[in-house]
């Protein structure tokens, strides 16, 4: 479980996140939704410690991450897997080397054991026979899958996904969403996903938090978001509603 308590963040005196709190539960997917520039990425970067918050605290299963020193944070980070918006795969390494990287860095596994683990992770994300290819030789959707495989290679307790569907076609987006949902449930991971894709919200959102101008504007579930009486939330999901009705009519 991840508990975010009253965190605020400003850049050059400008408040970009104000008194933000929520709880992400284990084995469930918490979605942070909102328009571009409203603070989703800053929030996620703050939770994982890539940005220092001005005030507030972040708890990983009761452990106060905000008060930890570098060494203590390092131990928490080994329990974190993260899928970045642009996948963030290492260009100079093959798919296999990318997934193997955390294992080589932090475990004493033999090469054979590491290969076995890598193949298991790649198979889990339905990406086989790409071990020796470089990130530049695979598609955007495949890069995301390698990113997920790398994120789960160390059996993380917490999974963060920043815009996992950006730049992907609807079908590939659906595959990635399903993968995140399955992995979260299968391994009992606490997953937080940043997205502005309403399809993702409807498909994988156990809990949905709407962020607006750096503040928590609305909290609910994928079932209740379509009935939300909040003006900004209604505007945000409006288009999705239309699409869903069109889909219903056509089917």
């Amino acid at each position: 479980m991840i508990e975010v308590k009253n965190i605020s963040k400003s850049y050059s005196g400008k408040l970009v996140m104000n008194d933000f709190s929520f709880v992400a539960e284990q084995g469930k997917t918490t979605l942070i939704i909102g328009g571009s520039g409203h603070g989703k990425t800053v929030l996620m970067r703050s939770i994982v410690g890539l940005e220092e918050v001005d005030s507030g605290a972040i708890f990983y299963d009761g452990r106060n991450f905000s008060e930890m020193n570098i060494k203590q944070r390092k131990s928490i980070r080994k329990e974190i897997g993260m899928l970045f918006q642009g996948s963030a795969l290492f260009d100079s390494q093959t798919v296999e080397e990318n997934v193997m990287f955390p294992l080589s860095m932090f475990t004493d596994m033999s090469l054979e054991e590491k290969r076995e683990r890598v193949n298991f992770c790649l198979k889990r994300v339905n990406l086989e026979n790409k071990n020796n290819q470089y990130p530049s030789q695979i598609s955007g959707g495949q890069k995301k899958r390698v990113g997920i495989a790398r994120a789960i290679s160390m059996n993380p307790k917490y999974l963060f996904c920043d815009e996992p569907n950006s730049g992907l076609d609807p079908l590939t987006s659906h595959v990635i969403d399903e993968l995140i949902k399955e992995i979260t449930q299968e391994y009992g991971i606490t997953t937080i996903v940043n997205t502005h894709d309403m399809n993702s919200v409807m498909e994988i959102g156990d809990k949905v938090i709407f962020i607006y101008q750096g503040q928590k504007w609305w909290e609910g579930s994928s079932k209740t978001i379509l009935q939300a009486d909040n003006k900004e939330v209604r505007e945000f999901v409006g288009l999705a509603k239309v699409l869903m009705e069109m889909r219903k009519q056509s089917s």
Binding site: R77, Q85, D91, P102, M105, F106
Partner: protein, 251 residues
């Protein structure tokens, strides 16, 4: 003016903070050693052809210029060889070749590190709990400080050989005169002085571009700007330290 001075102090402070982080104990010695060897190949071995070409012509030009300037019956003909040797060893090989390497290697380091920053690869390392500064920068510094003295020794040798070949071919000096000149009053301390300079320049060539790349923000345009800035500052620092070290070691 105050802003300019505060900016300089900001960069100096941030540079030394990064270097301190980079010099912390590597996560795994075996991976560090592998990375050092990779960097020796990238930064050193791959630069050998460039060093050979530059040094060959550098030696040739110095020999011809020296012969042109020494057209006096009071100056012995072997002085051409002696001048070529001392010019190449004292200044041209360590300083000129380091300046050229600052362009080639420096821009490569800055653009590689900068691209890793803007594509979130450095964030990915941090999330995994890897000290990105140590993992990315330390192998480059160690590799440069190790391989650059060898490059400079190659440059010294090639420069003197270039002077011999072109000097004899253009009839500005005879082979025995040149060979006598390069052996006359040879001081081994000059080579020591040149190698000390080289090690300091190697540190500048690797650390300054790494600093500029590491703190790149934005996209491809900013990576290009970082690369240019890195080469300019590395070159200026090489010239500054060339003066300081010459004063300290030769005066």
């Amino acid at each position: 003016m105050i802003h300019f001075i505060s900016t300089i102090f900001f960069h100096i402070g941030r540079y030394f903070t990064l270097i301190t982080r980079a010099f912390s104990k590597p996560e795994k010695t075996i991976i560090f050693r592998k990375r050092v060897f990779e960097e020796i190949e990238n930064l050193g071995i791959d630069s050998i052809p460039l060093v050979l070409i530059i040094s060959l012509f550098m030696g040739a030009v110095i020999t011809i210029q020296a012969a042109f300037g020494f057209e006096s019956p009071w100056i012995p003909a072997y002085a051409v060889g002696m001048t070529t040797r001392d010019s190449v060893i004292l200044e041209f090989a360590p300083t000129l070749v380091s300046l050229i390497l600052a362009g080639k290697v420096g821009s490569s380091i800055a653009s590689e590190t900068g691209t890793m920053r803007v594509t979130e690869q450095i964030d990915a390392l941090e999330i995994m709990g890897v000290n990105s500064a140590s993992h990315l920068i330390l192998p480059k510094i160690v590799a440069s400080m190790f391989i650059n003295p060898f490059l400079i020794i190659i440059s010294m040798f090639t420069g003197i050989v270039g002077g011999y070949i072109f000097g004899v071919l253009t009839n500005v000096v005879t082979a025995p005169q040149y060979l006598y000149g390069i052996q006359y009053d040879f001081r081994i301390y000059n080579v020591t002085y040149a190698l000390i300079k080289t090690v300091v320049f190697a540190f500048i060539i690797s650390s300054v571009p790494a600093y500029h790349g590491y703190y790149t923000h934005g996209g491809a345009l900013e990576v290009g700007k970082s690369s240019t800035t890195a080469v300019v500052y590395s070159s200026l620092l090489i010239l500054l330290f060339n003066f300081i070290l010459t004063q300290l070691l030769l005066a």
